[in-house]
Symmetry: C2
Subunit: 213 residues, 2 copies
């Protein structure tokens, strides 16, 4: 299979949400138009994305909701459970531990680690916060979430990789180096706010230009 | 100015980080090669991005670090302060309030709101948690962060827009509708994990195929 781009994966996640809602609502069939229902996706794009995975709707009828839901779930790797470890038991780490949506999607947070001696041994949700030094391949983690301060992030990434983790979600605002076989995704909250300040500045500037004309 | 794509804005944020580090390190000049220093960016891309904003390096010398830092800061709208309101004083909201990086970049979190009667009136950092019903245009918020449960998110977005907010960062895992003049960015943590599970599944499948050959 050819390499699938990041935006395609995000659209698949979106279709999956819409399909899950349609199953709950008891819908049997769904149109590419309804699947597209989000700014920036056309129904032609939906048909292209799905045909890529060998799924074809029937003209005038659309797609079978349950069948397509199962198919997209499989493509996204959500038809199995994933063992997730969270490193950093601060606000973000705790938000992740408290978030119920993960469980529904097959992500089991099975371990939480912190560097602070005062936190190690405490409970966070159902888990006891562990010393990072106790992380080992025996934990059989599939994914790791880095929610530590910036300066610790690379060391933590290295330790996760050494313990066999193959996917890392990084919330620390710094660039991390991981081996080629490890998939890294980053969420940088400051970068998101910068994207807003950019858009608002451009809008201000354009209003000023218009007013001057 | 032509519309600048989201990936371009993210690259500008990245250049800004590198330039800030270079200023701290006392570097006077920087090459497009060093600015590119991240997977997936080429030095040709850097030169193209910057020429777009009228900034040209000198062959063999590169860019003047301080000058370019100031220029990129202006483009990103970071040469002024922005008033940010956070709605939802749970884990994510508190993480945002505790995060020091925002302040450095010009984002002042000036108000925090919650719907829970037990939280309203309590302190979160330096701020007193307010009832969402007290939000008004007098707050003069530029941006709002939605860190509420999914079901409340659209109502909160409407209230923020009514109070004059022009940029929204949404952490609630649902699609929001906002007027055209409002910029919306969303961070969906489950979607990030799905992007990892997709990548890990594809890697598994490819290893299985290789093993079978």
């Amino acid at each position: 299979m050819a390499k699938i781009s990041e935006p395609t994966v995000r659209r698949l996640s979106h279709y999956y949400r819409v399909l899950e809602e349609a199953v709950v609502a008891g819908q049997a069939m769904i149109s590419s138009h309804l699947l597209a229902e989000r700014e920036g996706i056309t129904s032609a794009q939906v048909r292209k994305d799905l045909s890529y995975f060998g799924s074809f709707g029937r003209r005038g009828l659309g797609y079978n909701v349950e069948h397509l839901r199962d198919e997209v779930r499989g493509i996204l790797g959500l038809n199995r459970r994933w063992r997730v470890g969270v490193v950093g038991a601060g606000h973000i780490g705790s938000a992740l531990l408290a978030y119920r949506g993960f469980d529904d999607k097959g992500f089991d947070v099975v371990a939480v680690f912190d560097a602070s001696a005062s936190r190690i041994g405490q409970h966070d949700g159902n888990l006891v916060i562990r010393d990072m030094a106790t992380l080992s391949p025996a934990d059989a983690l599939d994914m790791g979430v880095i929610a530590t301060p910036m300066r610790a992030a690379q060391e933590v990434a290295d330790a996760l990789v050494a313990a066999g983790v193959r996917g890392i979600l990084n919330f620390a605002p710094r660039k991390l180096r991981v081996p080629r076989e490890v998939t890294l995704r980053s969420v940088d909250m400051t970068m998101e706010l910068e994207s807003l300040s950019f858009a608002l500045s451009q809008a201000h500037a354009s209003r000023r230009r218009n007013a001057a004309e």
